[in-house]
Chain length 127, copies 6
Amino acid sequence: MDKATFDRGLEIRKSVIGREFVEKAFASADDFNRPLQELVTEYCWGAVWGREELPKKTRSFLNLGMLAALNRPHELKVHVKGALRNGLTRDEIREVFLQVAIYCGVPAAVDSFRIAREAFAEYEKEK
Amino acid sequence: MDKATFDRGLEIRKSVIGREFVEKAFASADDFNRPLQELVTEYCWGAVWGREELPKKTRSFLNLGMLAALNRPHELKVHVKGALRNGLTRDEIREVFLQVAIYCGVPAAVDSFRIAREAFAEYEKEK
Amino acid sequence: MDKATFDRGLEIRKSVIGREFVEKAFASADDFNRPLQELVTEYCWGAVWGREELPKKTRSFLNLGMLAALNRPHELKVHVKGALRNGLTRDEIREVFLQVAIYCGVPAAVDSFRIAREAFAEYEKEK
Amino acid sequence: MDKATFDRGLEIRKSVIGREFVEKAFASADDFNRPLQELVTEYCWGAVWGREELPKKTRSFLNLGMLAALNRPHELKVHVKGALRNGLTRDEIREVFLQVAIYCGVPAAVDSFRIAREAFAEYEKEK
Amino acid sequence: MDKATFDRGLEIRKSVIGREFVEKAFASADDFNRPLQELVTEYCWGAVWGREELPKKTRSFLNLGMLAALNRPHELKVHVKGALRNGLTRDEIREVFLQVAIYCGVPAAVDSFRIAREAFAEYEKEK
Amino acid sequence: MDKATFDRGLEIRKSVIGREFVEKAFASADDFNRPLQELVTEYCWGAVWGREELPKKTRSFLNLGMLAALNRPHELKVHVKGALRNGLTRDEIREVFLQVAIYCGVPAAVDSFRIAREAFAEYEKEK
């Protein structure tokens, strides 16, 4: 493990996903899933999100498009909330999912709009 | 067909994909694929790309992420060249595909980098 | 928007998905998802389902196969009920999902059969 | 192996895919891929295509939709030619792929139209 | 149907998925899904799992990787429990899903770890 | 970057993919794709393949199943050759792709068998 990359990743992950969520993920980790938590924090959040060549807002746009295409509703909800934290407006999120309708198909868009509305409601409560 | 939406779509499509490419697509269209050309021009390029709520550069970012996730190499190459026309730098495109490695997996990223290099070479020649 | 295409789409959508479902979707729409409702009604239901070159029954067959392949359970359930409205029998729906087992794999078929049974039960209640 | 199912499958496979193609596939099979040829002939073509509950034309419609969604260009080309043998017209095939544009996304449709045109040309030559 | 293949498949299916689960599946089968139960038992469990060229443990490894990639959570849970029955340890299952993170992307791994933990808990109760 | 993880990854990558292939990939890397080469070597090959909890042969089995499911022919060919280097026999590779037929569908298996035969031929020449 590269400690500096891990630490940078941990800070970014907390700022995007929420400090409480991330701390709980590590606190509840056991021998089974701790290696995943560590890999994701270093590799995903440190080595890639930690690169300064793209602003976090652009990375959130990308994630919304990719996660809708990949059909991963749990992660999509997490990253809709992350997108709000990174400054995307609801109008911008709507535009992403209209573009999803064209490129990934209408069912991908219908699912994404439903998940986004659930994410907005959760985000309001968590604030 | 909504003529105004179609016309706006045709202009945007030409500006992103290249005037020559689009004119050739319509010129070579026959009864089999003309309805696709018209549907795509009106809805994809007019009704969605034509919305002003997102800049074209952001729409290009989204397309690169979605097309890499969807595993559609022909369209990905078209839209890497479109992204260059919309002002993305090669460094920004590299960052997109590094993020693809994380979210869509390493094979999706390896394919996307190879296609991007082919697209860069074609773009140079077409200029 | 092309008003005639939208109106034709709205009628077809109601006839396939159910008048109540569609009216509720528009009644509960807000600024966030109204543009999706409008796009889907015009583009999906008007511009494509509205074409008379294929009977609605054939379009339902296609949707069952595509939605099973695309792994979109919510939309699949909606379209199993739509298929019943368009005159497919349960035996025909079973045949579709046996063919799904071969081409999309056994897990896609197992999921589709489970969703179909849920859809049949809901359809009975809604009648 | 159930010999009757295999034999029925072999006949159906030849009638849809072309006698020459299938005979060549078995003639060139070696220890590596003969088990696949046998499995596909018995289960895919015998146990499922051999069921009489759906006409072959409907099964071809389903395959075009599923293979476009699954993003399998080689098999899609084989089954566009099979669809022509089963009596689908080019207009019907066009309608399938317009519906693909809506449900699987525009890139899936663009790829499918390109493959269909290649298949039409090969089919003309092979006749 | 090949009776010997079906019978061998039924035994293997019960040994991997659980006798009670399989008996319940057949007992509750109706005209709609009985053909699927029969096809899956003969073709999936008899004709492929019944081949002795790979040990069941290796087949379980493969299924975990494929089902994570295919994004089929219900079947993935069934096969995590099957993998435990076939002798995989939780450490080995963890390694599979870390490799999923690299090849299928982080969201596929996050979903798979969550499902695995649910499967472990169910497995304990069912013992 | 963690230098020890990168170095371990580089050695494993060379042993699986071929020394010449990997050295050429780094030699031809430019500012555009060098970050991908480094990320893949450190995380994919060092941080995951470098874990000793699974033998390389098992990791090759997993990759064949996942890459067939993910529909990534270029990477699949690379990893069929890697599987041969890791000691899988052609009979074992055949068994993997028969199982792919069941879980990912017949078209995925047909594509995988074709790619495997190409990979076998290339492997013979490269020896």
